[in-house]
């Protein structure tokens, strides 16, 4: 499976300067990956140890750069959810 869906990749390419809220799954230590991303200027918001994932905020260009890293397993857009009662 692709690290980044074709749809998201297209959006990132078309808007390299826009900010994106993403959830990325990585290989390796979360702390280490967080530090690497911070060094790239990526804002790491949260870590999810159950799935070795991070919530990040970054530009489209930064996201595309991250996608080239060997340790990046997958990137998805953080999406809205809502209560299902009325």
């Amino acid at each position: 499976m692709a690290k980044v869906s074709a749809e998201l990749r297209k959006t990132l390419r078309e808007s390299p300067n826009d900010t994106f809220d993403l959830i990325v799954r990585v290989e390796g230590e979360l702390q280490e990956r967080s530090a690497e991303m911070n060094a790239m200027g990526v804002n790491v918001k949260r870590q999810f140890k159950l799935t070795n994932s991070l919530q990040i905020r970054c530009s489209g260009a930064q996201a595309l750069k991250l996608a080239r890293e060997d340790w990046l397993v997958r990137a998805d857009t953080n999406r809205p959810v809502r209560a299902l009662g009325r």
């Binding site: 499976m1 809220d21 959830i23 799954r25 918001k45 949260r46 999810f48 140890k49 159950l50 799935t51 994932s53 919530q55 998805d76 953080n78 999406r79 809205p80 959810v81 809502r82 209560a83 299902l84 009662g85 009325r86």
Partner: protein, 420 residues
């Protein structure tokens, strides 16, 4: 012959007298002297819109103006005219409907089991939760106090004690402990990452069951970060139940996290064993059958968070709401009962038990899964020589509107019989 005015039941008089104008239509149920006396000609009476005729008894339903109701009452063929009243599923009927009281008789009430409700927070002052909230976690920055009402309602369906209602609105596992993660703001919305945070917190807190009455719109293939995290929680031994969604009746309407393969995905049914129109239907975007089972989720009365107006408030402590959100905590409570019966069971075992013992409602698998989950059927195989005392299932009671008709005990039961 009885006077016409005596045939009109009190609550209906009130509606007639308060009708805004002479053309106002009031929904009524007519009882005739005999089945042969059901007046088909009412279809053509001025001011009457004929609704339906019932086959099992001398009744018909129609809408009529105040003047037409008086005319009908004057007919010697008409015995009584009742106001048609809204029917609701109360917790005190939805819980018996899935045979939970039989399980309580076996001293299985969820005691010692931790249920995490990941939602809009909780009203910690509500009497139905006193002493059983183990810990809370607020991700929204609004405090864990539930300003929406959704999380409180869901928590009480799973584990409310019914203390504020003399046990009438008691949840499925009324002695279970609660872990509350507030991941949705008071407007009922949040982000996938917030839910992930709440689920992870719940796992860290030792939750044995996680209840997710939330989700994203649209169709999911179960391959996204939230589904992955729920799957990881299941692999850690935690049972995760999630609402199928309210995008039915169209197919391919199960979103995330409901589409995660190994969680238990819950659709909604009424207490008349009909799948709710709104209940999301499978298959998932990648063609798998969902939901897994259905549970009551239509007009459920459960705890109301102080100062909120979600659903249709009944009083200061209870409100009525519908959705797969309401069906899901029924499942969470049921999982707690199963776990109390046998704490060694793994999430896959619990899912299998729940599905193997569900009752087929006759719908397709992408509407009902395998059918309506049944607490007693699920638990009785786990305990030795069970001997439940039959507990009559209460009839649904009418609208919380304090109409005098609510005092006529036979009518709701009668209506239920007729509808069935």
């Amino acid at each position: 012959m009885e006077a016409p005015e005596n045939k009109i039941v009190n609550g209906l008089w009130r509606s007639i007298e308060s009708a805004p104008n002479s053309d106002s239509q009031i929904s009524v149920i007519l009882r005739y002297r005999s089945t042969q006396r059901v007046m088909r000609y009412t279809e053509y009476m001025p001011g009457v819109h004929f609704g339906r005729r019932y086959r099992l008894g001398p009744y018909s339903q129609l809408e009529a103006t105040p003047a037409a109701i008086r005319t009908l009452a004057a007919s010697p063929d008409v015995v009584r005219i009742y106001q048609d009243v809204a029917m609701r599923v109360f917790l005190d009927s939805s819980v018996p409907h899935i045979h939970v009281p039989y399980v309580w008789e076996q001293a299985l009430t969820g005691k010692g089991i931790k249920i995490a409700v990941v939602d809009t927070g909780i009203d910690q002052s509500h009497p139905d939760f006193q002493g059983r909230i183990l810990n809370t976690y607020d991700i929204t920055g609004e405090t864990v106090q539930d300003g929406c009402g959704h999380g409180t309602h869901c928590a009480s369906i799973a584990a409310g004690s019914g203390a504020a209602s003399k046990s009438k609105y008691r949840g499925v596992a009324p002695e279970a402990s609660l872990l509350i993660a507030k991941v949705l703001r008071n407007d009922g919305s949040g982000m996938m990452s917030d839910v992930m945070d709440g689920v992870e917190w719940a796992v860290d807190q030792g939750a044995q069951v996680i209840s997710l009455s939330l989700g994203e719109a649209g169709s999911s293939d179960g391959n996204d970060p939230l589904c992955d995290l729920c799957e990881a929680a299941v692999q850690r031994g935690v049972v995760v139940v999630a609402a199928a969604g309210n995008e039915g009746p169209m197919g391919y309407s199960v979103g995330s996290p409901a589409a995660a393969p190994n969680i238990i995905t819950i659709g909604a049914a009424s207490d008349l064993d009909r799948i709710a129109e709104f209940s999301s239907r499978g298959p998932t975007a990648d063609g798998r059958v969902k939901p897994d089972v259905v549970l009551p989720g239509v007009d459920i009365i459960a705890a109301r968070a102080q100062g909120t107006s979600m659903g249709m408030p009944l009083d200061a402590y209870y409100t009525s709401a519908s959705g797969t959100s309401m069906a899901t905590p029924h499942a969470a409570g049921l999982c707690a009962l199963i776990l109390q019966a046998d704490s060694k069971l793994k999430p896959a075992d619990i899912k299998k038990i729940m599905m193997d013992t569900a009752r087929d409602l006759g719908y397709g698998p992408n509407a009902q899964g395998v059918g309506l989950a049944d607490a007693w059927a699920a638990v009785k195989g786990l305990i030795g020589n069970p001997q439940p005392t039959p507990i009559p299932e209460p009839e649904p009671t009418p609208s919380p509107d304090p109409s005098p008709i609510a005092k006529i005990g036979c009518l709701p039961g009668l209506l239920k019989m007729l509808i069935k």
